[in-house]
Symmetry: C2
Subunit: 400 residues, 2 copies
């Protein structure tokens, strides 16, 4: 029943984005089989082509973000460059851009302009704060979004400064929301012929992801603070220390706690009035006291031993992996194909991150590396009718 | 040019999920206009219907996660319940489930079973570890995913324990990846008629979101640690203290730093060999020394004053909002419609989180509250041919 075609075969995407949020949107579509043409500024292209780490001068940041895409160079500040871009838009299904609002308009390619060229175009703008509103002109980075969404205020330890998440999640959410909008718009266009403008912002995506965090304040007026690895509504739901590292237990209910106490060889905890029901257990100082008991219990065991024991009674438990352990884990790396190798003409075999959406009929696993800068100039511009001589002249005039 | 139709009008989704990841997938489709029928176990339905906070006994957690959906009750352990479910599957485009792998098979409704009823069905499974691999049977919660993906190992302060992100981001990413897969599969089915099984996992989504965090280790073998709010590749990129709170600066380049030093009234920093170039500035003890200088500068100013001054020279800067500030910010709340009011028959006017994907032709802003338990039994089951008497009998027999 598996066909070899990918889900988005035949969909043509112009990806004129840089850094992380926009490229993540484009790579999602590329993994799903869209023809994604990355449009890069000559002479250097996407800024992250020079990012470290590199292998033989090839940026792995760029590779991860742009696997499976094509690359053309194009100088949108030249008259000929604008003409070429208009031709590309005429034949495209989707355009993705992550410039600061106003930039595309000044280049002559705002949504309204693109729509005149191609009424069905699906035009996706990803920015820090969105196309509208008083902050739309502010520069938006992941850290800025994490700060203003309120996410940092609930990350970290009580009594210490607010902390960012170590993952640039605002960028990733921005890219994913862009891709969701594009795919929904594609469905709408298939039915109606109508294109549209999608406007998504890093801050919006972060705020949306926090819907369980904000609702408490909205109902009760109580502003949540930071509680490290604890969850206000259950205990033990926290991190603990074994002799060789840290692990987490997510133990919600009374039956779960009974199983945990038993497997720890501490049935007396179930008689202890501090811990013997859900509500008493999740209030301090009982949480601190229970944490000390569990830490003490695990202090002479390895993380692996603690995890195996606790998992034997089906309580959610896990080691806190460092990056090495996560990338080398058999389940994550191989069974789930979350780290895959692709062949690169300059860097050789490189390991990139796999696609998290496993589809039975239309594979998503990345199989192709990212493009060399401008490697598809001939084929893409050739298909628009430009001959080799013109391309050579354009190259010399820094139009492409 | 705006049509009143939403992007996914006409798409019928059976959402048999609970808690967060699955419902977030369904709400994304509901906001986009799909008919999402939530299938809930009698008598209580989704576990989060009893979650706090509540208004007049209505869980706001449930409201946020299930806005715009319909609700039917269905007991899948009864013969009649199974027959009804088969009829629902026959007429659906999409089924979303977030049970532990194996549960749907035991109920008689694994993908292969559903496909026999409806060959075009798009069947999306969201789980902690995925449908395949050695950990597939493990219970998966957000905290478990954050621990095993490596995300916690890079979140927190140097010398302190690994920390979770305060946002249940593993759940949110799982739901978004499910929705991405569904929309791509819908496009594929429109072209080819072929349905498929989508398998996505919380851990997979987290690992994918970390692609810029893992690549360093994969290339250099160096395991990244925790660095609070700093970024290894630029300084000052950090949080700082003003007299009434904290704020962040994301200052990358030398020209940015020159503008910052100037607006701070400290041009001498540009001559200081510790700070006068990109590379020296981002190495310690210079980072700590520069942080102290900036903290001292802002110690007699409010966050608002610091942000306004630094923003005047177009350096990325932002207040670290608490949840109150984030939900009340004019740009976030109103201009971007990230908090919207809906009317609920029992709770009255309630504020829920808006949709982050703004689409010019097909609106996504939620306008309807979540359903009361089983409120759509009559219309949904009625359309399958069940009369009022049968429904009454089914209700009494706890089939619905």
């Amino acid at each position: 029943m598996t066909t070899e075609a990918k889900a988005l075969a035949g969909v043509k995407v112009l990806d004129m984005t840089q850094f992380l949020a926009g490229p993540y949107c484009g790579l999602t579509l590329a993994d799903m089989g869209a023809e994604v043409i990355k449009i890069e500024n000559p002479p250097g292209g996407d800024f992250v082509r020079i990012a470290v780490p590199q292998i033989n001068g090839v940026s792995i940041y760029y590779e991860n973000m742009n696997r499976g895409k094509k690359s053309v160079t194009l100088n949108l500040k030249t008259k000929e460059g604008k003409e070429l871009f208009a031709k590309l838009i005429a034949e495209a299904d989707v355009l993705i851009e992550n410039n600061r609002p106003g930039v595309m308009e000044r280049l002559g390619f705002a949504y309204e302009d693109a729509k005149k060229i191609n009424p069905g175009i699906i035009y996706c703008s990803i920015s820090g704060f969105g196309q509208t509103g008083p902050y739309s002109q502010r520069p938006g980075y992941d850290l800025i979004g994490q700060a203003m969404s309120g996410a940092m205020s609930i990350t970290g330890m009580e009594g210490h400064v607010p902390l960012k998440y170590g993952v640039p999640i605002g960028d990733v959410l921005g890219g994913m929301n862009g891709a969701l909008g594009i795919l929904a718009a594609l469905h709408h266009r298939t039915r109606t012929g109508e294109g549209q403008h999608i406007d998504t912002a890093l801050v919006d995506g972060l705020v949306s992801s926090m819907l369980t965090n904000t609702m408490g304040y909205l109902v009760t007026g109580k502003v949540p603070g930071r509680s490290a690895n604890r969850y206000f509504n259950a205990y033990p739901y926290d991190s603990f220390s074994a002799k060789d590292g840290e692990y987490v237990i997510a133990c919600g209910t009374d039956p779960h706690f009974a199983a945990l106490a038993t497997v720890m060889g501490k049935p007396e905890l179930l008689e202890d009035p501090r811990f013997n029901d859900f509500v008493t257990r999740k209030s301090n100082p009982h949480m601190d006291e229970l944490k000390a008991i569990i830490d003490e219990w695990s202090s002479d065991k390895t993380v692996a031993e603690c995890v195996e024991l606790i998992m034997s009674v089906d309580i959610p438990v896990a080691p806190i992996y460092d990056i090495k352990q996560a990338t080398e884990d058999e389940h994550i790396r191989n069974a789930r194909e979350m780290f895959v190798e692709v062949e690169h003409p300059v860097a050789g075999k490189i390991t990139i991150t796999g696609n998290p959406i496993k589809m039975s009929a239309t594979p998503t696993t990345p199989t192709k590396c990212a493009p060399l800068l401008g490697q598809d100039n001939e084929s893409v511009y050739g298909s628009l009718g430009l001959d080799a001589e013109t391309l050579k002249a354009y190259k010399e005039k820094k139009i492409i």
